[in-house]
C-alpha cells in the first residue's frame, strides 16, 4: 500500500485455540487430557474442600478464587508444550506443512467435573509470532515471517483460515 509516498504493510498474529476433550484422538492430546484432569482434581480441592460443587462452572460462580484454577492447572501441560519447540500444532500451509511458530500460549479450562472426567475439556491457545499479511488469494492468506529487511525476497506461505484459528492482532506498519 502506498500513500503520500510512504509504504505500509499489515502485520498480524494468528491464534489457534486447540481444544482437547475426552474424545480427542492422539497420544499427546490424551496425555494432556489425563494430566490436566488429574491436576484439576488436585487443585480444585483448595476452593472446593467439601466437594460441595462438582462442576467447574459452579466453582467459578460460587467458590471465591476458583478462577485461579485456569492458572493452577496450566502447570500440568507445560511439560507437554515445551517439546513442541514453539511450533504451532495442527496448522499447516497449503502444502500440508507446518510453518507457524507460537510466541506465547495460554491454557484455559472450558469445562470439568470432579465426578465425571468425560465433561473435562480444556483449550491451549497458541499465538503466533508476527507475520506479514501480503495479500489474500482466494480463500487463502499470503503470509511471510516478519523481517526487518523489506527488499529481499521472502519465502511465503498460503494459509486457509479454519475454525479455531483467528487473526488475533493487526498492525499497519510503515516502512521505508
Amino acid at each position: 500500500m502506498e500513500e503520500t509516498g510512504k509504504m505500509y504493510r499489515k502485520v498480524i498474529t494468528l491464534c489457534y485455540r486447540k481444544i482437547i476433550d475426552a474424545r480427542s484422538p492422539g497420544r499427546w492430546e490424551k496425555l494432556v487430557f489425563e494430566d490436566s484432569y488429574a491436576e484439576f482434581l488436585i487443585q480444585s480441592q483448595l476452593y472446593n474442600p467439601e466437594k460441595k460443587y462438582t462442576r467447574f462452572s459452579d466453582m467459578l460462580q460460587y467458590a471465591p478464587g476458583a478462577e485461579k484454577l485456569h492458572f493452577l492447572v496450566s502447570a500440568s501441560v507445560i511439560n507437554y508444550v515445551k517439546p513442541l519447540n514453539n511450533r504451532m500444532p495442527d496448522i499447516t500451509n497449503n502444502l500440508g506443512k507446518s510453518f507457524l511458530h507460537f510466541q506465547h500460549y495460554f491454557f484455559e479450562i472450558i469445562n470439568s467435573d470432579i465426578r465425571d472426567r468425560l465433561v473435562h475439556s480444556i483449550a491451549i491457545n497458541f499465538c503466533s509470532s508476527p507475520l506479514i499479511w501480503h495479500d489474500t488469494v482466494g480463500d487463502y492468506l499470503l503470509l511471510s515471517e516478519k523481517k526487518d529487511n523489506t527488499l529481499e525476497e521472502v519465502q511465503t506461505d498460503i494459509l486457509q483460515l479454519r475454525p479455531f484459528l483467528s487473526i488475533h492482532s493487526l498492525q499497519t506498519e510503515q516502512y521505508d
Binding site: I19, W28, L31, P49, S76, P83, H104, R162
Partner: protein, 233 residues
C-alpha cells in the same frame, strides 16, 4: 393434481441436486464449529484441506506437572531459603508419613505470587511439589519470602495422600523475635513499616501455641534454613 405432484417431485429433485452439496458443506462447518470435537481434529482439514505431509514429531511421553521440582526459585532474586517439611500422621501416633504429596507456594521478595499475566505464558515461580520420603520429609530450595499488605510472611502448604486427596491445607509462619531471620531480611527493599505481625494476622492470630511457626536459622550470606513439622489426620 398432476402438476402439483410434478412440482413437488421437481422440487425434491432440485433439493437433491442443490441442497445436498450445501448440506455437505454445512455438515463440515458444523463439525468444525463443534468444540466438543476436540478442535484439532474437528476441523475443515478433515475433508477439505491437504493432508499434512510432515514427519511425525518425537513420540510423546508422559511428563510430570511443572510443579514437580525441588528448586522452585525460577530465577527470583532473594536470600536463599531451604525448606524442610516433615509430615506426620496423627492417626499413626504422628509417625512420618511416606508418599504424601506436598505442594508449597509463596510470594516473591516484592510480595507477588506467580499467576497469569495478561496474554503471556504462565509463570509458576515459587510453586513446587514433592513427595515425602520414608522419614516424611520433603525439601525445597527457594528464596526467603517477602510480604504484602495485610499478611504476615508465610508459606502455603497443601498436603495430599498419594492418590491426590487433600489431607491438609495450611500455612507456615515465621518467628519474629529479635535477631530472627524475618527481621534480618527486613522485608527486603520494603522494610517492615506497615507489616502485619503474626499476632495481628488473620490466619496466624489464633495460633496461640505457635504450632504454625517454623524454626528458621541462617544468615543473609549463606542463606536460611526452615524446618517445620505438619501433622495430618
Amino acid at each position: 393434481m398432476e402438476r402439483k405432484r410434478f412440482l413437488k417431485q421437481g422440487m425434491a429433485a432440485l433439493g437433491i441436486a442443490f441442497v445436498t452439496p450445501m448440506t455437505a458443506c454445512k455438515k463440515n462447518d458444523a463439525t468444525t464449529d463443534n468444540s466438543e470435537n476436540g478442535g484439532t481434529e474437528g476441523t475443515g482439514s478433515e475433508t477439505c484441506a491437504v493432508a499434512p505431509t510432515e514427519t511425525e514429531g518425537p513420540y510423546p511421553s508422559k511428563n510430570p506437572s511443572a510443579y514437580v521440582r525441588s528448586d522452585i526459585t525460577d530465577g527470583r532474586s532473594g536470600y536463599k531459603l531451604t525448606v524442610n517439611i516433615t509430615i506426620g500422621k496423627v492417626s499413626n501416633n504422628c509417625s512420618p508419613l511416606e508418599g504424601a504429596v506436598v505442594d508449597v507456594w509463596h510470594c516473591d521478595a516484592d510480595g507477588n505470587y506467580s499467576e497469569y499475566s495478561s496474554g503471556s505464558t504462565s509463570l509458576h515461580f515459587l510453586r513446587g511439589r514433592q513427595t515425602t520420603d520414608a522419614g516424611g520429609l520433603v525439601t525445597f530450595t527457594t528464596i526467603f519470602p517477602g510480604w504484602y499488605q495485610g499478611r504476615a510472611t508465610h508459606i502455603h502448604v497443601h498436603v495430599f495422600n498419594a492418590s491426590g486427596t487433600s489431607l491438609k491445607v495450611t500455612q507456615i509462619a515465621f518467628p519474629e523475635n529479635s535477631g530472627s531471620a524475618l527481621l534480618t531480611v527486613n522485608g527486603y527493599n520494603k522494610g517492615m513499616k506497615g507489616y502485619t505481625y503474626n499476632a495481628q494476622d488473620n490466619v496466624f492470630a489464633d495460633d496461640t501455641t505457635g504450632v504454625e511457626i517454623a524454626t528458621v536459622t541462617g544468615n543473609t550470606t549463606n542463606g536460611f534454613s526452615l524446618v517445620h513439622n505438619i501433622n495430618v489426620p
